[in-house]
């Protein structure tokens, strides 16, 4: 082949799409046509994971990895590389030693293990043939034609797969309960509400490999005896919804969905329902209410959904990522699955890595990997040479993990033991410039806004906790506030109706446990050690001052006084803490502390 490239993969995940990847795809098609290279296929794919390097373009079979491609770069790639056979060096992704490396050679991928995301980036998510070519529907065929419902359930049980939606409940057990629940009408539901701030694991699976979820739900329907399923997906995920619709349409057309699937007589129909963006609607019983058209508030349990769920019928409800593991377990077996991860938490977990880390993106790692490996080996460490301070797993329901626990293995039990939780896969890294009281306040605010209001502990308790955190970060905290905060946290945790309220105090409790000195500094010394809480910061002029008067001119509050060529000073009472003086000083004599 003269140009070494007959396929161009362009990431059309959310990150790259906002980086104009649709335009890149369009430009490739046009440029290739114009150069008489229309036999080169342009394939849009799901997320590759390395979002911070997007938009990502990969050529095959020569395996070149272009990062941060702009639409205007396309002509050059087509001309030099595809037509001319010479990759465009300046656009190729460079490894740690500055050499061009292929996608899966990058450090980012070395410690990853891609099961759930295996096809993301390899196939066109809107092409069922691509899916089939990459092993799609083998599991469905095997389950429907060669296995009984009981056998399917027992493989899932043996695999030790645990729910990826947050709580880590054994999936096989749930399937078994639903299978054994009496009732002629049953449902299978997929929880794609993903409300965790900063999380986009489920979204990427749905955007990159939607058929894997459709296939798994069909298998689940067969296993538990359901002929109808719902996917509850956030309305804020239009691309995921679109790809799901395309996937379901194609599966229906090819007989992988609908009536008499694969001529086995098994019927299974799927519909999509949109969530309106309420975090609590990710809680499974609130989700069921929402599908039924009722207010999205949690239901009393028992009865559990497996016994009495959607429209009063036995219902299996699993998370997107949980389903995305199913097909591979059916085809490769429980032992294969157990060969990854830890005995208590087998398999892999997808994390949305964000915050103060170099490689922001989507990673899939075997359970049991340490936080350090994720942050440093995969995430490439903390930017700007800053130190690691803490990581938040489990989103607003989880906890802050301090540096002393950075070697904690990531599995359900270990995270719980240090006061956090696995959650659905948000992983936010914080460097040493972050105020931990501020972080606790941020998550508490989120929960205040997302409380459904059904029970008083959460409805009022979270507001009171947030008010206290506001006071502390605002410099008005009193030492008694800490005891009150703890009392409230205990009560909200014990008495709340659902897990939203029960887990909402976690960020406060963990920051309290690991960073109590920061709380005390805010209260006793009226100082924010991280220098983030503006109410606690003061601007001061140091001896470096040359008396140029520039700061005094810049101050909008006329808080700075001083004679020409003499040291100036700031009146704390007048200062509005805007920082204008700091920017104006030519000799950097003004400090904030």
């Amino acid at each position: 082949m003269e140009h070494g490239c007959d396929r161009v993969y362009v990431c059309a995940g959310t990150g790259c799409t906002s980086g104009k990847s649709p335009e890149i795809i369009e430009n490739f098609r046009q440029e290739l046509n114009a150069s008489g290279l229309s036999d080169v296929k342009v394939i849009m794919t799901g997320c590759f994971g390395l979002c911070s390097m997007g938009p990502i373009v990969i050529t095959q079979p020569d395996d070149c990895f272009y990062s941060r491609v702009a639409p205007k770069d396309v002509a050059e790639i087509v001309r030099e590389h595809i037509a001319g056979g010479k990759p465009v060096h300046r656009l190729l992704f460079k490894g740690s030693r500055g050499e061009a490396v292929s996608l899966f050679e990058a450090d980012f991928y070395k410690k990853q293990e891609r099961v759930v995301l295996a096809r993301c980036g390899l196939i066109n998510p809107e092409e069922i043939d691509d899916y089939i070519e990459h092993g799609g529907f083998a599991a469905l065929e095997k389950a429907l034609k060669a296995m009984s419902s009981e056998e399917v359930v027992s493989v899932i049980k043996d695999s030790g797969l645990r729910g990826r939606g947050g709580a880590g409940f054994p999936t096989g057990k749930k399937w078994e309960f639903t299978m054994n629940a009496p009732g002629s009408k049953k449902y299978v539901v997929c929880n794609a509400d993903e409300g965790d701030p900063g999380a986009f694991m489920d979204r990427s699976v749905l955007e990159g490999d939607p058929l894997s979820v459709v296939e798994a739900m069909t298998i689940a329907g067969y296993a538990v005896g359901a002929d109808e399923g719902y996917i509850y997906v956030r309305a804020e995920y239009p691309l995921a919804i679109h790809r799901l619709q395309v996937a379901m349409g194609q599966a229906l057309e090819r007989g992988f969905l609908g009536n008499n699937i694969l001529n086995t007589g098994f019927d299974f129909n799927l519909s999509i329902r949109y969530g309106a963006g309420a975090f609590v609607c990710g809680e499974e019983t609130a989700l069921l209410n929402s599908i039924e058209g009722k207010k999205g508030t949690p239901r009393l349990r028992p009865p559990f959904p497996a016994v009495k769920g959607l429209f009063g019928c036995p219902t299996l409800i699993n998370n997107v990522e949980t389903y995305a593991n199913i097909c591979k377990i059916i085809t490769s077996g429980a032992d294969w699955f157990r060969s990854m991860g830890t005995p208590g938490s087998p398999g892999t977990k997808v994390f949305a890595l964000g915050g103060n880390v170099n490689n922001i993106g989507l990673v899939e790692v075997p359970m049991g990997i340490t936080l350090r490996e994720i942050i440093y080996d995969i995430g490439g460490g903390i930017p700007d040479g800053r130190g690691f301070k803490a990581a938040q797993t489990g989103g607003p329901s989880g906890g802050c993990i301090p540096a002393e626990h950075i070697n904690t293995p990531i599995d359900f039990e270990s995270l719980k033991a240090i006061g956090s939780m696995m959650g659905s896969g948000g992983l936010i890294v914080m460097d040493d410039s972050k105020c931990m009281v501020g972080i606790a306040k941020f998550f508490m605010k989120f929960m205040v806004e997302e409380s459904c209001g059904k029970c008083a502990p959460c409805r009022i308790g979270l507001v009171r906790m947030h008010e206290i955190l506001e006071r502390i970060t605002g410099g008005e905290g009193e030492i008694g506030d800490l005891a009150e905060l703890e009392e409230l946290a205990e009560m909200v945790n014990e008495l709340s109706f659902c897990a939203l309220g029960q887990t909402a105090p976690n960020p406060v409790l963990t920051t309290f446990r690991y960073f109590k000195d920061e709380y005390l500094a805010h209260i006793n010394d009226k100082k924010c050690p991280a220098g983030e809480c503006s109410a606690l910061l003061n601007y001061e002029v140091t001896d470096k001052c040359v008396g140029c008067t520039k700061c005094a001119k810049a101050c909008p509050a006329a808080a700075i006084s001083g004679k020409l060529k003499e040291k100036h000073s700031i009146d704390k009472g007048k200062c509005v803490k805007c920082g204008a003086c700091m920017g104006a000083c030519p000799v950097k004599s003004i400090v904030r502390r």
């Binding site: 009393l300 029970c455 008083a456 205990e490």
Partner: protein, 349 residues
């Protein structure tokens, strides 16, 4: 029957009953706000939690079923501490004006605050500002007192089958409202007042011209005089005057009333109310008479008419305002004593 251990003592309870029911049976009192034995368990107010050995968290007794050998502590230090904190929290979002509140003395929040020695100064903060304000001729809603127990909405929905109230909004801003905040009448309210009767605090209150404190009244059990259903009521009586009506849990009404039974009692003390028989004299004016004289007159006239025109010339019409038994007696009187089948009453429509 199965055995559980309630606060250390073994107790035989009916299988399938809740811990709360078991406690009630054993005379152990547990605070509740959202619970009403007639309604489906909601489990949302959280005040009825108890400690169940082996459970990871405190359990709501209203919706936890008993199990053989279950060990339950209803007033362990932890339970008491957390109930107290919850009450502190609820009161921090409540307009505490017990001095002016008509509900004082008959308010669960007040009772439990006393029982659990709540310090209302401890937990403080902003209070909810509700959007929906409702009042009608019969009752009004004061959202600043509402604790969102949801009893009003569930009573209206599950017992009155009208679905007028809803818990609208989310989180701290949740409030009692009609669907989309429309007028109560438009939402289908029949002013039965059953929501008012179940409100445990001073949020839904009858509009009343009477001034009274709960402890000044005594309850007189009676049968509602408006129709033949026989709803059981408790008349609230202060200084021998009826100042209010509360539904009682009779077989015929299950603690419910209609608008008349609940609110229309002021006729009892009305100055125009007939309290003795009146006979119209030759001059066309009504004069008071004794029962003997009045009944004698009616009996005499009845006999006269029957003798002259036959019994079927007479028609008896009784009232929906009397009891079934009284209507029955009247029917008997017309048929057996007067001798005609011409008998009817006004509420047979």
């Amino acid at each position: 029957m199965i055995n559980i251990f309630l606060n250390g003592s073994e107790l035989a309870v009916k299988e399938g009953s809740t811990v709360l029911e078991a406690c009630k049976g054993a005379g152990v009192s547990i605070p509740t706000f959202c619970y009403d034995e007639r309604l489906k368990a909601e489990g949302s107010c959280r005040i009825c939690v108890v400690e169940v050995e082996g459970a990871p968290k405190l359990m709501p007794s209203c919706s936890t079923l008993v199990a053989p050998g279950m060990r339950v502590l209803t007033h362990s230090p932890k339970v008491v501490k957390l109930r107290k904190k919850l009450l502190e929290l609820m009161l921090s979002n409540h307009e505490i004006s017990c001095l002016q509140c008509e509900k004082a003395g008959n308010c669960l929040l007040q009772d439990y605050a006393y029982e659990y020695e709540v310090d209302t100064e401890k937990t403080k903060g902003r209070k909810k500002i509700a959007e929906y304000a409702s009042s009608n001729k019969f009752f009004s809603l004061d959202q600043s007192k509402c604790i969102l127990c949801g009893r009003c909405a569930r009573t209206c929905s599950q017992l009155q089958a009208n679905d007028v109230w809803a818990m609208a909004g989310r989180g701290f801003e949740t409030e009692v409202s009609t669907p989309f905040g429309i007028d109560m009448e438009e939402a289908g309210c029949v002013h039965c007042g059953n929501c008012v009767s179940v409100c445990p605090v001073g949020a839904l209150k009858p509009n009343t011209r009477h001034k009274f404190r709960a402890w000044e009244t005594r309850k007189v059990r009676s049968t509602c005089a408006y129709c033949g259903v026989g709803c059981q009521i408790d008349l609230l009586v202060k200084d021998d005057k009826v100042v209010g009506v509360e539904p009682a849990g009779g077989k015929s009404n299950n603690g419910l009333l209609c608008v008349k039974g609940k609110f229309a009692f002021d006729f009892i003390n009305h100055k125009d109310r007939l309290t003795e028989p009146l006979i119209r004299g030759e001059d066309g004016r009504l004069r008071p008479a004794s029962w003997d004289e009045a009944l004698g007159l009616v009996a005499g006239k009845t006999k006269e008419i029957r003798a002259e025109f036959g019994a079927d010339a007479i028609m008896g019409l009784s009232s929906a305002r009397v009891t079934n038994e009284e209507n029955y007696l009247f029917m008997k009187y017309m048929r057996a004593a007067v001798g005609t089948n011409n008998v009817d009453h006004c509420a047979r429509l």
